[in-house]
């Protein structure tokens, strides 16, 4: 079967994609207000890492408080603000920016053979909304932090501290940033793939970003509406949620969860994409079931819009509504399970290297599966009536978000670090980081299932045992969890040290240290601002190890060590 080569051999077309813009000249143009998606991606990663550390420290405040049943480390109001900002910061200022704005911006255009995203100016604005929104969010501590959890249910959130309004504004802003990024990525992936890269020749990372971009673009707007309404009610008294004036608290829950359920897929689908790239590379064989994994990403994204009210089984919505949401949520388990089986089968028959990225990918599969299984419990209404609002839900959340998204981010860091920075990280430290994290993570969150099932609700600044059988047991378990969490927090220091040391004294990275096959590895580490001198044509998907690379027309000098200078301007494709 002839493989289609869309460009006439030896010919070229002066297209939008081929066109190389002049190099940025000033320091500000290169590093601060850069239009280059790679620079913007790094900016997202730095800001995301900062907010990760802040949100993580807030979690440690929670764990210190919970070492004693009577609490006492901070006041109740402070405590409530701490966990609210921990969750809000992790979800909106850490995970979503890192997996979409960070890795999406850096890697996706490279993988599709593009020079940048479709709307670089929009990309720049998207990023520069992010740090101010984050500062606004955490700055709410100064005026009375929002205290009703990241879900901020009215009426308690309407009465809440002044910081709740700031929370509305901050999340509204980051929502605009997310929506624009989603739009940008959708157009980029639909319109700017290299010649020959049909949808089924796209790397799975790109499939994941496409599904995520769809969610980002459509669902985030729903959150903006809910936040705007809450803000209007708080500041101007407009009745949306106040039952005394014709409003409905359940309306908030519908509007909020209609976004927030797709949001969890925004957080996990890119991580699925990371895993789908890392496993084949370090097992030296194709991903098992490429089409299944690609299409299930889209299926999960679409189905994800239909299940939001499984967060509302106890809420007082009409009882008959529980049934369809329960069934649809159970259905989503199937495409997710197919991915897990596909990844597991990818390992079979491989030549597996225990690189830190691979270890985190393996850990991801194990831990995310557990989180997914607890999700099945939560999808069943009778069982959820017991689990809802307890530490069992906290356990589920952290298994899928930390064990899923964050493990995925860690894996991605170890994988793409050489490409981004041009330096190698220490494998030994990476392996240490993995084991410390994996063990302390499970020690921290596994016991929370038991706590919740035995009667410990969430969002509590104090706790006590519920039955005579359990005297002191809640305390001991909470203390065990807290100490494990300290180890988990400390394990991040290993990663930070590894990153710092690599930047200062790490070995220089070759273009393709892992012998991977996607396009970003066929150019220098780091790539020049224009990515490719000549956009290649793509003949196959990138998972056929042992065959030659399926790209035509790559300029071999793209692999040369490249330190772009302001006067640098390569020969345009059409010259």
């Amino acid at each position: 079967m002839a493989i289609a080569v869309p460009h006439p051999p030896g010919g070229h077309i002066d297209t939008h994609s081929d066109h190389i813009h002049p190099a940025p000249r000033t320091f500000i143009g290169k590093y601060i207000f850069s239009l280059d998606a790679k620079v913007i991606g790094v900016q997202y990663m730095i800001a995301g890492l900062l907010f990760f550390c802040i949100s993580g420290l807030l979690a440690e405040v929670v764990r210190i408080q919970l070492m004693r049943p009577e609490g006492g480390f901070v006041s109740n109001d402070t405590y409530n603000g701490v966990y609210t900002l921990h969750a809000s910061g992790m979800i909106w200022m850490t995970i979503i920016p890192l997996v979409t704005g960070g890795f999406g911006n850096y890697v996706m255009p490279l993988m599709i053979g593009a020079r940048d995203v479709a709307f670089p100016w929009l990309n720049l604005v998207s990023f520069w909304i992010f740090p101010p929104a984050g500062l606004m969010l955490f700055g709410s501590f100064l005026i009375g932090a929002p205290d009703a959890g990241w879900t901020e249910y009215p009426p308690v959130s309407v009465q809440g501290p002044p910081g709740t309004s700031l929370w509305c504004a901050a999340i509204f802003l980051i929502g605009i940033s997310s929506t624009m990024t989603g739009l940008n990525f959708m157009v980029t992936i639909m319109k700017m793939r290299a010649p020959g890269m049909t949808f089924t020749r796209m790397p799975l990372f790109v499939w994941a970003q496409l599904a995520t971009a769809l969610l980002n673009m459509v669902a985030t707007v729903a959150l903006s509406a809910a936040l705007a309404a809450l803000f209007m009610e708080r500041q101007f008294g407009v009745p949306f949620y106040d039952p005394g004036r014709g409003g409905s608290p359940i309306l908030w829950q519908h509007m909020f969860w209609f976004y927030s359920h797709p949001a969890v897929y925004i957080m996990i689908l890119p991580a699925f994409g990371f895993i789908s790239e890392i496993l084949p590379t370090f097992a030296r064989k194709p991903i098992f079931g490429y089409k299944m994994i690609a299409f299930s990403s889209i299926a999960i994204a679409l189905l994800g819009f239909t299940v939001w009210a499984h967060h509302m089984f106890t809420s007082g919505m009409a009882p008959w509504m529980q049934l369809p949401f329960m069934i649809l949520t159970m259905i989503i388990a199937v495409p997710t399970g197919l991915k897990v089986f596909g990844w597991t089968a990818t390992l079979w028959g491989g030549k597996i290297e225990y690189h830190p990225a691979m270890l985190f990918a393996l850990g991801f599969i194990v831990v995310f599966t557990l989180g997914g299984v607890t999700g099945i419990f939560l999808s069943s209404v009778p069982v959820d009536l017991h689990w809802h609002g307890t530490y069992a839900v906290v356990a589920h959340i952290h298994y899928v978000l930390f064990g899923g998204s964050i493990f995925g981010v860690f894996a991605a860091v170890y994988y793409w670090w050489p490409k981004i920075t041009g330096r190698m990280m220490s494998n030994k430290l990476g392996v240490l980081h993995f084991w410390l994290t994996f063990v302390s993570f499970n020690a921290t969150f596994l016991p929370m299932h038991w706590l919740g099932l035995m009667g410990m609700p969430r969002r509590v600044a104090q706790y006590s045992d519920t039955t005579p059988l359990l005297i002191n047991q809640f305390t001991i378990v909470n203390q065990f969890i807290s100490i494990s969490s300290f180890v988990l927090a400390a394990s991040t220091l290993v990663l930070l040290y590894n990153m710092a040391h690599s930047l200062i004294a790490g070995k220089k990275a070759p273009p393709n240290p892992w012998n991977a096959r996607t396009l970003e590895w066929q150019i220098s580490s780091p790539p020049p601002y224009y990515n490719f001198k000549k956009i290649p044509a793509v003949l196959k998907n990138p998972y056929e190890f042992g065959e030659p690379l399926p790209y035509l027309g790559l300029d071999p000098s793209d692999k040369d060590d490249h330190h772009p200078s302001p006067t640098d301007h390569p020969t345009p494709a059409h010259a």
Partner: protein
């Protein structure tokens, strides 16, 4: 103006649209998709508030709702809203004619139709201001007022931005930024203005007729 054919039949219009260099064609494709997706996300925004309105409406036995003094609020007055709606829909028609004129290289007609569109848009905004003053509701006084002012306010804001956008396009077109074959800005403006019209169809139905 482009030095393409002076023939203004439909085929000539189509030919001018196709005979652009591939760099422009790709740029136009990308921008069109981006703009359409932007409008999709804007539709989601309105849809969420429309959902909220319908939900609140459905959760009380009486609509219009009964205010805190025990009196039922009155229904909206249909007559003025019909007139104002015709103004807005009329501006949609004039926008269409403006676009067609441009495509057929009739610049003078384009200018007239654009001015008509802008004037009608401003008239609509004036009409909304009048309606806001005369409707016996306040923003915070009831869910009826809350949803009405929020949704029509969002819509009015979109119309306001649209008017500014159209004025900008008018100036750009007369400065020669667009040609007979390259006029993406005008296409986007037309799409936006029709979007604003379609939203108003929904809002008019939901508040004045339902």
């Amino acid at each position: 103006m482009a030095v393409s054919s002076l023939n203004s039949t439909h085929e000539a219009v189509h030919a001018r649209y196709q005979e652009v260099d591939s760099l422009y064609r790709e740029t136009r494709d990308i921008r069109l998709l981006g703009f359409v997706l932007f409008l999709v996300s804007d539709v989601v925004l309105f849809s969420m508030f429309i959902f909220a309105y319908l939900y609140l409406r459905n959760s009380v036995p009486n609509w219009p709702p009964i205010n805190k003094d025990g009196v039922q609020l009155p229904r909206f007055d249909l007559a003025f809203a019909c007139i104002n709606s015709c103004v807005l829909f009329g501006s949609g028609a004039t926008m269409h004619f403006a676009m067609e004129s441009w495509k057929h290289l009739k610049k003078a007609d384009f200018n007239l139709w654009m001015i008509a569109t802008i004037v009608l848009g401003v008239m609509f905004l004036g009409g909304q201001a009048y309606e806001y003053n005369h409707v016996p509701l306040t923003w915070a006084g009831s869910t009826m007022g809350g949803s009405f002012f929020t949704l029509t306010g969002m819509h009015g804001f979109h119309v306001f931005i649209g008017v500014i956008y159209l004025i900008t396009l008018f100036i750009q077109a007369n400065r020669g930024v667009y040609t007979g074959s390259k006029y993406f800005g005008l296409t986007a403006g037309t799409l936006y203005w029709h979007f604003v019209d379609v939203i108003w169809v929904a809002l008019f139905y939901l508040f004045y007729l339902l």
